[in-house]
Symmetry: D2
Subunit: 346 residues, 4 copies
């Protein structure tokens, strides 16, 4: 049994990780940290997680917990994660980091967008971006995974086949994303209180969201040249899910069937990608609680534009599910272990 | 592997049964019926249920399907179920019926509340009311289970320990229930359209809901004398869950600790009942997607009243989960098989 | 034009008062206070309230603002209101207080439930409980109004005709209330964040809610003898509205028509009470944004129980609308001024 | 007093028109039609609209009602409206039509998108597209108004200043719209039932929605040359509101201040347009129940793209409010009459 420790287990991502791992036959959770909830059990905080009544939150003391586990999941705030990741990594542990701290390879870009310098650039070089659909082979051999952001996951998976097949004008990309409120985390903030969010809908951080450089980095790698994108996040009045609508000009003559074929072929062996029939579109309700990414396609021949729509659950494929997928790959477990559940309907 | 057939699999209860059984190692689904959706696959109708892309809805032709399965789940409308249940039962099959048709032992009461005569009173006598917390021993030997209604499940489980312990005045019972909208089924009806339900809340069928005789029957059996209750259902603007608030006068001097002790002891061995600490109350969010019933207790000494609050997921403990629990008991499977999942948070 | 000042205008009740008064032809708002938002305009905080771009929040400095207005609305937290009310009152101003501080006539009961002593018992004696359906004549002559709580408004209006007509057993009253989340106020609190409330439903403060003594006080006054009630509030996942379901045993033989007649007659001249046809029930969606209380009735002859269901908008009839109604009465304005709007549908 | 008749008054747009007109001092409603609800009062159908208890739905018999009113609002389904509009118009009445039938000037384009021929092309030529911000002068003299569609209203108002100022590349326009569920109308359809919509979000009719030609027609008129756009509607799990996010490449060097200046200047005299400070974005909650369009702007200099975000209430500015605005202009009433309300917060 693999011993794992969860650093930062009282937020929604940590909580979702606990839910998924409760159903994983190869893993034992040896500890979970939280500063605010130290001393309480997981079940005290989340009565629904009844299986964890004996798992007690403890403060994060890195030296003391180092020997408690072989693999550390870190669901800490951005910037706070830097040092902890480095510590566990240089001490020979496997690390899966949910923060953005090890995702941006260019430490100057990191500093520019996250307003804090990167102090562990050597370790940064070792980190593998944990998107199995791109880096499966590297993940299998990795010790340090930078688990992708929720918005980047939906955006990159939507664009990957088109960019690899070189069918789009990469200077024209518009990524319009809509996320459920759990994406903002579990916190006291009047802006995310029920009455402010419910029956409302808005755009935020237009053109300035921190997930932008992560999307651009991976699309640029795929393309072989620098890509800049328009990325606009919006806040949906629902708990979970991100729907991303992507627009890009077509750069060559192509039919709907050919495009669908490219997507189906690219993802033919992927266990968690579902390419819909041409003309069908995803609904975040179809992927809720699952590790799936649903993709719908439309070629608008009047405007010569390809529209790609993707849906994921931001807490699963966009966070904890993808992390478990990465763990399965790193440890040589069967890839889908713990991730085969169906969504609640309705 | 147990072969099962689902009659009426295109509604929410059938759909939920498919979800739960997808995770059950002892069962193979050999068919599913739906008149309206005949010819389509389950995945055509519910894209999220991706595992069932080869399971095709067929019209319900009883003779033809009789040999396809050993156990039949029937999620058909009330009254329509009568004949189908009888057919499978007298042909030696195991049957779990989701309708009310075999729940009310008194066929006159059935006719009075359901406005249709019962034509199979011999078979009615054989039916066991499928609430494991009351009838576990009988269920293990049964061939025909009348699976309880959603409201009765939350109401009866809340009152059972108090009635058995004879601590309440059974003439004073008020049952105030609030159900999510999936309880109304999957149907075209302007009254259940999004804009009519959302941001609304109302009582309906006050004092006249058809689940009333079912609640009264079981409480009367437990008590040994005829009990009549006030039962008011309400419609919540959310998908799943029933919260029931029950009021009853205390008939003897008793402390909060004693009451909590009675509930904890009564349900000590029950795998799906969670009695909360005194002064804590359930939230339907804590049981969503699970087979649990959460129970909270309060003794109001100012009014000499016991208040019991229960929460269940109407589609799981209130329908398909309880049905699988019954199947596990009937077939000698481990009782919790397929039912150990944790709720999504949030 | 009446000059009014709003003390505490950055919460939901203050905000709703601003909305209602924007449509009132006899009133000019001369100032609004908020400690946290001092220096900002109302429109800065609430962009939808575009008419108030020049109304700037100021800290509450009682002496300085005393001469700015003839009537002061106070929407301050409980306990904080005590002194401010007294100050404006003894300086000859008209005062309408939204807090509980001047509602409970028995200062010992106030201290017991609110955990703070009452320091202004002389002024407390002068306060009139601002429910026009009971105290219209007194309100017209009053200088100090204790504006009723939201839950008490729905509960008392439901019970008033039955208690006055002496048709119920007053020892048997159960009040089961369900409130939208705006009732909790506008604040940073993880328990009221979107993801915790949405798709959830729970009871809270069972038998211990601070609105209990207020309900009991007014019912006791109406009845002529001490009444104790069971009161359970619940939290609805929607913005506005309270639905209250009330159960009481009938103390004399009576028909549905007679009961409906009593309610219709009692409220015949009331501009904001709508007694529905027997067998129809309120929906909080029907009263949203309005000052109406809808009432539905059911006589359950099987249990000898009267069930009364009421719906109000907690921010209008349960707070700011009732306050404006009181102001209209105090100032001799036409009673319905500013309060004739219809609800949004949907 | 202007006598008006509402043809098709049992849907959400008709209902909203009744709400708005209840507050309009210059208008008397002389009748309202509905086939399904004929014989019932408006209040029977919508208990919240208590002022209309004596307004009875009648079947639409054009000849019989011709003399009942001077102005006819038609909120009938697309295609059904054609003949009725023509009848009232040629008989000398003022007509405001909510359908798309008289919006598309090119009857071939109409037939192509709406799959039905236009039989009244002479009357079509007389219709004025009822967007006051473009056609105020013509509306004042018009007898027949084609009231704009909800999506086109949000899209056109967002693009108008940029197109007139010639600062964008009109071949690059992406319009990504998200609408509340009331946009689908009041109907029995499982796809719009609560449990299917709630906690879900999806794109639909990608590149094929019927509002596309209407948007393109008006943008082309404004630009002076043919414009083709990408338009994607999405379905939001809330009652009211449309948020539209628009992307277009900038065609000349320009600063954020200059762009904001263009928008502020263009709409300086418009009573219902609110251009936000640069970097602030609309929320549909801010305009709910009002006739306002909120506009936010962002110049993404990294991608040389202007992002425009607009919010309207689809039933007010996107339907009935804009219709009343048109009526006010046609009849010489003060422009804002009946439309000055503030939104409910929350």
């Amino acid at each position: 049994m693999l011993k794992v420790f969860i650093c930062g287990g009282s937020g929604y991502a940590g909580c979702e990780l606990l839910r998924i791992l409760s159903n994983h036959p190869e893993v034992v959770i040896t500890g979970v940290s939280s500063e605010k909830s130290a001393g309480k059990s997981v079940t005290d905080l989340f009565p629904g997680l009844y299986k964890y009544s004996k798992l007690i939150y403890e403060p994060l003391k890195k030296e003391q917990i180092l020997n408690k586990a072989d693999l550390f999941f870190l669901a800490l705030p951005h910037a706070e994660s830097q040092e902890a990741v480095d510590f566990f990594y240089i001490n020979g542990k496997k690390v899966i980091d949910f923060s953005a701290d090890y995702r941006i390879k260019d430490s100057k870009a990191y500093e520019e967008w996250y307003k804090t310098p990167h102090k562990f650039t050597d370790t940064l070089k070792k980190a593998i971006y944990g998107m199995p659909e791109i880096y499966r082979a590297k993940i299998k051999k990795a010790s340090l995974i930078a688990n992708p952001g929720c918005y980047p996951t939906g955006a990159i998976l939507g664009l990957l086949p088109s960019i690899k097949a070189k069918i789009i004008d990469t200077s024209s990309i518009v990524i319009d994303s809509k996320s459920g409120t759990s994406g903002a985390g579990r916190k006291s903030d009047v802006a995310f209180s029920f009455c402010e969010v419910n029956e409302g809908f808005k755009a935020y951080a237009v053109g300035t969201h921190r997930h932008t450089p992560e999307i651009e980095q991976e699309l640029s790698y795929l393309s072989g040249r620098k890509i800049t994108v328009n990325f606009t996040p919006h806040l949906l009045p629902l708990d979970r899910g991100i729907l991303t609508t992507i627009y890009c000009k077509i750069s060559k003559k192509i039919t709907p069937d050919e495009i669908t074929g490219i997507y189906k072929k690219t993802y033919a062996k992927e266990p968690f990608i579902r390419v819909l029939k041409y003309g069908q579109y995803p609904n975040i309700k179809n992927v809720r609680g699952t590790n799936f990414c649903e993709i719908g396609l439309k070629l608008n021949e009047r405007t010569n534009t390809l529209i790609i729509v993707t849906a994921i659950d931001n807490l699963v494929k966009g966070a904890s599910g993808q992390a478990v997928h990465n763990m399965n790959l790193m440890m040589g477990f069967e890839e889908e272990t713990g991730l085969k559940t169906l969504p609640l309907i309705p």
